[in-house]
């Protein structure tokens, strides 16, 4: 508060700028609210008014000549273009006042001689101006000197009236700039109407202005008084003049994100607290001190001069309260037209450029003023003109704003036009640069269904979805809906009319969610989305969603003014993520929701074949999204690159696309990285690092071409893609390699490779037996790298999945059967498992089967007696046959007549010999389980919907198995010898048991 009045003048230029923004707001046709500023208030007294009027009238008469002279003078002194001076004038004023306080003294004394004349003239001029104020814009150009002159004249007069008039003129000059909204003409009348303003402060600054050149002591004293006065004013200042009169916009909570505000002065309608909460509610920040971090200074009535000055120095944008409110509206998108948004931003940028301009020019201007000051001394008349001019200028600051604001409007318009021209290129970008960085994936998200990649054809999933959604209410909404049949899953041209839900499935990053949201938007549906970030357990879905599905949406009522609509769509995103404890039972609930839904449901998932999704897909219109083709992506990506100004050659782009696996989102991320990299370093070749499957790995292991380029560690890496499967793959397929070597070496090479593979197996055993994982590199060498290098060539056949796994499990089964067999025969034979296998099996088989072959039904008794002697079960015969069967051998059982077989089984069952061991239920159970697996799989889906709880289902399963095991035993005597029949009956009983 210790600043002198000069600080008031300094504000001028910045205020002019805010004026220009305000001109926009005026253009927006918002109601213009008159600020109650000092100037409006001061001319209470009729006297003042009279004087003002008189002076204006007078000035009107002589203004023409004066102006002309001034113009000439200016032209003489400063060889500068007119528009420049026009723009810079406010700075001119402030600089003259602030930088050259001493130089005023000569100006002060000179006019002393001619004061009466001058005074009259000025009064005249003022009067004149008053009349012409509206159209006489030219006058305003020179009012600097005029003002000074008038100031001095009045100083000499000692007339209170004059003093008051001066005061008024000062305030005019000062506050006119602050008071953007008030047109010139309003001042007089308005001033009369408004009378509540504090008067105490006004005379004091004027006094200082009068005397502060006279002597330093007094000046200091005056300054003290002045600061005191300012403080008094600060204490006494009124609250907001029109408190609560304005509509406070309710913007989005983050529209002012990252912006920092500073308030100075009393706002028109907001209390300080209200202001702070307003800004904070919208994500902004309010500070108390001016710093470079502050983005906007909100200027109210009686702004702090220090703050304003600092803000000006930092080039911070000034806002009025209205502008702040507008800013909120614009940022939160409440004011829709993008043009406005742009203009706003533009004006900001224009302001910035202007301020920088003015900064750049200030030294020049100062020079000018110095020049003018020195030149002032040349002639009396000249100086007189000058002074009067300066006075004029002061007085006419207000008129200046009109042309200036017009100018800025013009400027903004031209910028706008430019921007409009640019808009197709980067309208969004411009905005983005101002604000936070937006990832490309968000920035270039398709805005309409037309721009979704790869969905533009007639039969595309998107169009099918549109048709489905359009017809949904006709198909399901009304009571008299058409009778719909479930289409076969293979029919191609189904429009999904039967289904109440759609299931979009496909790999990530190809636009499933985008398609769904945009289609819903396009058809005017409101979207309710649940994704994996929401808990979607059975309970929650039931409570929240099911209620939601029956209500009507009010969204239209709030935004578009349309009636409340029932048109909304439930978007269940990432349904395959509905797993774990959190979302227990979610899928089942979703299915039941779909069954009873009154609105369309769109589900999305990645893996359509996931067991959980399988049950859901029965109730959904199945839309499978496949990856878009290279050309489709490429076109879109090219345009994105163009928009972003990234230059990328076609091959590199294709490589990025393939390496990302046609995942559009991934491609965009890569591209943005590319663009960032390009700025720093040279363009690197995009390096593919896509995961390989074991099949490709296996091919690469033996590929001679790969060996040329890759190092040993690269080859070793191939092994580590899957170190448990890699040795098996290599072993399975190494014999298919055609090594690039002379033919006579082939066998040696294969032998060496086989040797290495065998060594690799030993290493593997050591690793797994002793947990010695440090040997893994060794295994990589033995099992993958060395065979690869011995057999460097190419694989000229299909890469097979390792047979070893299947063979090993089959071996396990045979060993198990052998063990059972041996256990059953244990009391009657002396051999162990291997001896049984090697010696007994074939003899046993022949002694069992040969009587049946040779004697037919007569041999049944012989066979049965053998069975009983060795304590064999009927199943053991089958395992004997299976174990003794070698490839390229006939199964002797096939030679047995089926009737004989049946007779054999019958008589065997009838005999029902006592066995020395308990019949193992476990074994039969296992077998039945294996047999039933297929049937169980089929009924699985039905079950899933029936059973709510998983644990129950498990229990049921166990029960089922038990019953089947029992039923098998029961069935055995009754069924004929054909085992298949038994199996079938098992399956039947098991199904019964389930139900």
């Amino acid at each position: 508060m210790s600043k002198d009045i000069r600080s008031f003048f300094k504000v001028l230029p910045t205020n002019n700028k805010t004026k220009s923004t305000s001109s926009n707001t005026i253009k927006n046709k918002r109601p213009v609210i008159v600020d109650s500023s000092d100037e409006d208030i001061i001319p209470d007294t009729p006297k003042q008014e009279k004087v003002a009027n008189r002076t204006k009238k007078r000035r009107l008469q002589c203004s023409d000549s004066d102006n002309e002279q001034n113009v000439l003078l200016k032209k003489k002194i400063i060889s500068q273009s007119k528009d420049l001076t026009n723009q810079l004038r406010p700075v001119d004023i402030s600089s003259t006042f602030s930088n050259t306080p001493i130089k005023q003294s000569p100006v002060v004394y000179k006019p002393l001689q001619e004061k009466p004349q001058e005074e009259k003239k000025i009064v005249k001029r003022k009067k004149k101006e008053k009349v012409n104020s509206k159209n006489n814009t030219e006058l305003g150009i020179h009012n600097d000197a005029n003002f000074e002159q008038s100031l001095l004249d009045l100083d000499e007069d000692f007339l209170i009236a004059n003093v008051d008039a001066l005061d008024k003129s000062i305030n005019d000059a000062l506050n006119g700039t602050n008071d953007k909204a008030v047109p010139d003409t309003l001042i007089g009348s308005k001033a009369q109407e408004i009378k509540e303003t504090p008067k105490s402060s006004t005379p004091k600054p004027k006094k200082i202005e009068e005397h502060h050149d006279v002597d330093p002591d007094q000046e200091r004293y005056e300054r003290k008084i002045q600061s005191y006065a300012l403080y008094q004013k600060y204490l006494n200042r009124s609250g907001p003049a029109h408190h609560g009169s304005k509509e406070i916009p309710k913007g989005t909570p983050d529209c002012l994100n990252g912006l920092c505000f500073l308030r100075t002065g009393v706002l028109d309608s907001l209390e300080n607290d209200e202001f702070v909460s307003l800004v904070k509610d919208h994500g902004g920040r309010v500070v108390n001190g001016v710093s470079k971090k502050v983005n906007y200074v909100v200027v109210g009535e009686d702004p702090g001069p220090a703050k304003l000055e600092k803000a000006k120095n930092y080039g911070i944008n000034m806002l009025t309260e209205d502008e702040l409110l507008d800013l909120i509206r614009v940022k939160s998108g409440l004011i829709k037209p993008p043009l406005q948004e742009n203009t706003h931003l533009k004006t900001n940028s224009v302001e910035n450029s202007k301020s920088t301009d003015s900064n750049r020019h200030t030294p020049l201007v100062i020079k000018e003023s110095e020049h003018s000051n020195t030149s002032q001394k040349l002639t009396d008349s000249d100086s007189k003109h000058k002074v009067s001019n300066s006075k004029n200028e002061k007085k006419e600051t207000k008129p200046i704003f009109k042309p200036q604001s017009n100018k800025t409007v013009n400027a903004t318009k031209t910028v706008e036009q430019k921007v409009l021209r640019q808009e197709p290129k980067s309208s969004q970008l411009l905005e983005v640069k101002k604000d936070v960085y937006v990832p490309w994936t968000e920035k270039h998200k398709p805005q309409s269904i037309k721009s979704i990649i790869g969905q533009q054809t007639e039969k595309s999933n998107m169009n099918r979805l549109i048709v489905w959604l359009q017809n949904w209410y006709t198909n399901h909404g009304s009571k008299n809906k058409p009778k719909l049949i479930k289409p076969s899953p293979w029919s191609k041209n189904d429009d999904g009319a039967y289904f109440k839900a759609a299931l979009l499935s496909g790999p990530p990053g190809i636009g499933k969610t985008t398609t769904a949201t945009l289609v819903a938007k396009e058809l005017g549906f409101d979207v309710v989305e649940f994704n994996a970030s929401d808990t979607r357990s059975k309970k929650l879905l039931h409570e929240e969603v099911s209620q939601l599905l029956t209500t009507t949406s009010l969204a239209g009522y709030f935004t578009g003014g349309s009636a409340p609509t029932k048109k909304h769509v439930l978007l269940m995103d990432e349904v395959d993520g509905m797993a774990g404890n959190e979302d227990r039972g979610g899928i089942q609930e979703l299915i039941s929701l779909i069954k009873n839904s009154n609105i369309p449901v769109i589900c999305m998932c990645n893996d359509r074949n996931h067991p959980k999704i399988r049950s859901l897909s029965n109730y959904c219109f199945d839309l499978r999204f496949s990856r878009p083709r290279m050309e489709q992506i490429k076109g879109a990506m090219m345009s994105v690159c163009f928009k972003e100004g990234v230059k990328i050659n076609s091959e590199a782009l294709s490589e990025i696309i393939t390496s990302a696996g046609m995942d559009v989102r991934q491609i965009l991320t890569h591209l943005s990285l590319w663009s960032a990299e390009k700025e720093t370093s040279d363009i690197k070749k995009p390096k593919k690092d896509s995961p390989l499957g074991p099949w490709e790995v296996c091919r690469l292991v033996f590929s001679a071409e790969n060996h040329k380029t890759s190092t040993i560690s690269d080859q070793e890496k191939l092994f580590f893609y899957d170190y448990s499967l890699a040795p098996l793959f290599v072993h399975e397929n190494y014999l298919k390699v055609l090594p690039h070597a002379p033919k006579n070496e082939h066998l040696e090479r294969f032998s060496a490779a086989a040797n290495c593979i065998s060594l690799g197996d030993i290493v593997d055993t050591q690793i797994r037996r002793n947990n010695n994982w440090s040997l893994l590199n060794m295994e990589a060498m033995c099992s993958s790298v060395l065979p690869g290098s011995y057999l460097s060539g190419h694989v000229n056949a299909q890469i097979d999945f390792p047979n070893w796994l299947g063979k090993n499990s089959k071996r396990g089964k045979f060993v198990r059967l052998l063990g059972e067999l041996q256990a059953h025969m244990r009391t009657s034979i002396s051999g162990n498992r291997n001896e049984l296998n090697l010696d007994y099996l074939s003899s046993l088989r022949s002694s069992l089967v040969n009587p049946l072959i040779k004697k037919g039904a007569g041999g049944v008794d012989d066979s049965v007696s053998v069975m009983h002697n060795y304590n064999l079960l009927r199943e053991d015969l089958d395992s004997i046959l299976e174990l003794a069967q070698w490839p390229k051998q006939k199964d002797p059982m096939n030679m047995v007549d089926s009737k004989v077989k049946a007779a054999f089984t019958r008589s065997f069952n009838k005999a029902n010999a006592k066995l020395p061991y308990a019949v193992q239920a476990a074994v039969t159970k296992k077998r039945n389980a294996v047999n039933n697996e297929d049937g169980y799989d089929l009924s699985e889906e039905e079950e899933e919907e029936m059973e709510d709880d998983k644990d129950i289902s498990k229990d049921a399963m166990i029960k089922t198995k038990k019953t089947t095991a029992r039923s098998t035993k029961k069935d055995e005597p009754s069924t004929s010898g054909n085992k298949r029949a038994t199996k079938a009956s098992n399956a039947r009983t098991s199904k019964k048991a389930k139900k």
Binding site: H731, L735, K736, H746, L747, E748, F750, S751, A754, N755, I757, S758, L759, G760, D761, I762, D764, T765, Q766, N803, W804, K807, N808, R811, F814, V815, A823, R826, T827, S828, I829, S830, G831, N832, R833, N834, E835, N837, L838, D839, Y840, S842, S843, L844, S846, S847, N850, D862, S865, V866, N869, Y870, A884, W886, P887, Q889, P916, Y917, A918, A922
Partner: protein, 355 residues
Amino acid sequence: MSLWVDKYRPKDLSKLDYHKEQAENLKKLTQRGDFPHLLIYGPSGAGKKTRIMCILKDLYGCGVERLRMEQLNFTTPSKKKLEIMTVSSNYHIEINPSDVGMYDRIVVMDLIKNVAQTQQLDVNGQREFKVIVLTDVDNLTRDAQHALRRTMEKYITNCRLILCANSTSRLTPAIRSRCLGIRVPAPTITEISSILQNICKKEGLTIPSEFAQKIAEKSNRNVRRAILMCEACKVEQYPFSVKQNIAEPDWLMFIRAMSRKISQEQSVNTLANVRGDLYELIIHGIPNNIIFQTMVSELVKNCDISLKSEIISQAAFFEHRLQHGNKAIFHFEAFVAKFMCLYKKFLEDTVGDVF
């Protein structure tokens, strides 16, 4: 109607057909009423099991022939549930701990210890100890053998162990020193042929001594196999003729066919083909060492002596690897590839020498 091999199994020590001196000694041992732990070892088909049953019968009388089978369950420390089938009479229990694979230590610790700790209920019975028969002891893991060794010492008053193994090489010296080792060698060919003739006489058949001799030779001095082969021949053709074809086990034929394939053509295609055959053998549970033995003996048949030694050393090398490794097929294949390589080189050299 059982097979001859089980029908005519001797059930008494005095009725054994060969190693009569040994049988005498065993009889003396049992008659004394007490004996140390026994380790009976010998090749497959030499009559180890038969001798054990004879000893038991001598000890306890006919009661040991009333056998029952029991399924015993126990859980490992890692909560894995295991089942093992035991054959037992009132006086003895027969267990094959290697049935449960690597968990045999648990069997030894739990089961055997349990049995050994309990005393005979019938104090007035013939003996105050039970007998535990452990078969396939050479498949016992090292842990199980260590567990066994303390049990053998501690509970010697309550029980005797009879261990049955093919070879002592895989038993720890500690076990070996605690037992009385009784080797049951394979019978000679003449012994086998006389056995065959005895059986045929009992069956009321006539068998030419040459034919019996032939079968005995084919059986690889394995009595069991010899008798089974004889019966198979009888089923095929009776009366016997000397020139009659003796049916060999299928797996043997299979390995022979495979070996022929390898000798005929040495190429990658054959190798791939042989892989399928090897898989088949492995699936059928033919022991790896038998596959190796049979294959090598077939392969070296028409080889030069220098090549023979080379091939046999290679076979030994890969068989050793197979013992340490996990996936038998890898090693078999490596051996076959190596053989092909050597054999082809040998052929080329000899052909080159000719010209």
